[in-house]
């Protein structure tokens, strides 16, 4: 039996680092944050017990710097490292180095990361375990010439994917031969940058699919169990945007089959700690194993909301050598949960990233609302990292209530400064196909125009507000140059006095 974990270094940033700190606090485990130049005053640093600077803002020199992170772990006296998601979370070499340093890696064995984390290896393992897979070749492409040849044989559309990838990085769908070369180059360059591994593989693109994944958990005693599925079909550029559990699409029969398949697959390799089996499910409920993520997922909170289990605490427990404290039949999906990923991006301008200063923030509260947040008012959002600012997760007794609640919480939630996709979320949840649960991974492209349509009346009132704000703004300054009707703008209104008075009355 391993010793009890007393201090954890979190090798990550943003909302997930904050999330892990929360679990540690509840378990009375000390927390060690690491940070880059850009994150000197980040929320995860401010929430931790200890914090160590690990280098410049460029991820390769800080959050991907294995030796530096391990050095800090030793220096701080941490006995375990939680990798979060992204960065080094699926880097087997990192886990190995942690073991070599005599520390605990909160995740599976490096061998399992290597096998299951590589899409190509994982497909072989799945095939051996009798699990259906999507057609494709089982080794990385040598070059763009080979990509062209294989794509031609397989028939377009095809999908290029980084072998070490995840979260849509290094992934490109190609519908015609003429787009292949540039797509291949971009996928490779993104893969190299994000994962230090430029291996790209190719598979047939299944059209009209659902992206459904099963949360699984194993312990070192050989138990494997599942925590049901998450429906993650609302995606843009292969990046998940909205997730929910249970899936409104799959039947009870499919649910059982997929969950059993996930457990079988993980048992076949003696998997332990948290993992996710991602599947494609077509409109006829046929399912294919897609890949495995050997780490905690961004969208793990929807599972936590419907099962009532804190998955991060469970990760820490299992990493400490304990057996899973539940039996499969004790885990149930109760009610319904929806997660909206809040990104710093401008949906009205092709979702361009929008880093910058957070001027103001108003959090959603109230029944059934959870916010996993990584920023605060006054924080400068760096341009070097993921655009995820926070995740809004709402629970309801049923799907209808979960949707109503999410919409309500979204109206309360405001982030001023960076542009966000909050409007996108609010409107997406009103789309009939979403309300009815009739959607697949093409939802965003199909409905985007409609989602981003702005009501004329709303726009008119907004423009009026802009003009009035300008008027009030001008009134604050001493009169300069010409004024409209001869009078000084300063004397033209007394709103400063009156608004002060109104505020006084409200208190």
């Amino acid at each position: 039996m391993k010793n009890k974990i007393k201090k954890i270094l979190i090798a990550n940033r943003g909302e997930i680092a904050v999330r892990v700190i929360r679990a540690c606090r509840e378990l009375e485990i000390k927390t060690v944050a690491v940070y880059s130049d850009a994150d000197r005053a980040a929320l995860h640093v401010r929430r931790a017990d200890e914090a160590y600077h690990i280098g410049p803002s460029t991820p390769s020199e800080s959050y991907l710097n294995v030796s530096k992170i391990i050095e800090v772990a030793k220096k701080s006296g941490a006995d375990a490292i939680h990798p979060g998601y992204g960065f080094l979370s699926e880097n087997a070499g990192f886990a190995e180095e942690i073991h070599k340093a005599g520390l605990i890696f909160i995740g599976p064995d490096p061998k399992l990361i290597r096998a299951m984390g590589s899409k190509i290896e994982a497909r072989k393992i799945a095939q051996k375990a009798g699990v259906p897979i999507v057609p494709g070749i089982e080794r990385p492409l040598v070059d763009v010439k080979e990509a062209e040849k294989v794509a031609k044989e397989m028939g377009y559309p095809i999908l290029l994917k980084a072998a070490a990838g995840g979260g849509g990085k290094g992934m490109r769908a190609v519908h015609q031969e003429k787009d292949l070369k540039s797509a291949f180059e971009m996928a490779q360059s993104e893969a190299l940058k994000s994962f230090k591994d430029g291996a790209i593989y190719i598979e047939k693109l299944i059209e009209g699919p659902h992206h459904i994944e099963v949360q699984i958990f194993g312990d070192e005693q050989g138990h494997v169990m599942h925590f049901f599925e998450r429906e993650c079909s609302i995606q843009r550029r292969h990046q998940k945007v909205i997730e929910e559990s249970p899936s409104p699409f799959i039947t009870a029969d499919t649910r059982k089959k997929i969950c059993d398949m996930a457990v079988k697959l993980c048992k076949s390799v003696n998997y332990y700690n948290a993992g996710t089996i991602e599947c494609l499910v077509d409109k006829n409920q046929n399912y294919y194993f897609l890949e495995m993520n050997t780490r905690l997922q961004v969208e793990h909170p929807v599972t936590e909301m419907v099962t009532g289990v804190d998955l991060v605490k469970l990760q820490i427990l299992v990493a400490g050598g304990k057996a899973l404290p539940f039996k499969q039949e004790e885990i149930r999906q109760t009610g319904h949960a929806i997660e909206c990923r809040v990104y710093a991006e401008d949906p009205f301008h092709n979702f361009m990233p929008s880093p910058g200063l957070v001027v103001d923030q108003q959090y959603p509260h109230g029944p059934g609302v959870r916010l996993d947040n990584g920023i605060y008012q006054g924080f400068q959002i760096p341009l070097e990292y993921d655009p995820v600012l926070s995740k809004l997760i709402c629970w309801g007794r049923d799907r209808t209530e979960a949707i109503e609640r999410t919409k309500r919480a979204l109206t309360e939630y405001r982030v001023s400064g960076p542009k966000t996709n909050l409007y996108f979320h609010r409107k997406a949840l009103e789309v009939d196909d979403f309300v009815k649960g009739h959607y697949d991974t093409h939802f965003v492209e199909k409905h985007l125009e409609n989602i981003l349509k702005i009501d004329r009346e709303e726009k008119t009132k907004s423009l009026m507000a802009a003009a009035l704000a300008k008027f009030l703004e001008e009134g604050k300054q001493p009169p300069v140059g010409v004024s409209a009707s001869g009078g000084s703008p300063l004397q033209e209104h007394s709103v400063w006095k009156t608004s002060g008075r109104r505020e006084g009355l409200r208190k």
Partner: protein, 170 residues
């Protein structure tokens, strides 16, 4: 007492008039008119009460005539100015925008410049790849033409709005 403004948004000019009425403001835009009260006006955070009923929460910030605003989660970028001032600026602007200047849509890093000076490009030709928040964004030429000037190289860090490539029609 009243004040006129011109709003320039998406290449459209809109006239707005603000009339002060006691502590309220009557705002006129085209045929439409609404009564506004400023409940809170602490730049950039505003809260307006429209027609004594509807609450409108807004984030509005100005840089001279440039205005960035966020209302109901919708980001707007517009210009607001005194209509008389425009007569001056119009003459300065004419002739400047006949070509196609590619500017950085957000702060980021130039990953690749796909064209060099003198190259012929078509509308839709990828010109520059800019990376921000780990996503690569291909910036395309908006016109058919010739690359007149390249202002950046791979590896450069660029600010939002910074000129990257100048393309002239031809």
């Amino acid at each position: 007492m009243s004040r006129q403004y011109t709003i320039l948004i998406d290449n459209e000019e809109i006239a707005v008039e603000i009339k002060k009425d006691g502590e309220d403001f009557v705002v006129q835009l085209g045929e439409q008119s609404h009564r506004y009260q400023a409940l809170l006006a602490k730049s950039p955070i505003y809260s307006f009460l429209i027609d004594d009923a509807q609450v409108l929460e807004a984030e509005i910030s100005f840089k001279q005539d440039q205005c960035d605003m966020n209302i109901g989660h919708v980001p707007y970028h517009l210009e607001i100015f005194d209509p008389r001032k425009r007569l001056l600026s119009q003459s300065e602007q004419s002739g400047a925008s006949s070509g196609g200047t590619i500017t950085a849509p957000m702060p980021g890093k130039v990953v690749e410049v796909k064209v060099s000076k003198g190259a012929t490009v078509q509308k839709g030709t990828p010109v520059v790849v800019v990376e921000a928040m780990k996503m690569q964004n291909e910036l395309l030429s908006a016109i058919d033409g010739k690359v007149e000037e390249v202002f950046v190289k791979a590896g450069d860090t660029v600010e939002s709005g910074q000129k990257l490539v100048l393309i002239t029609k031809g």
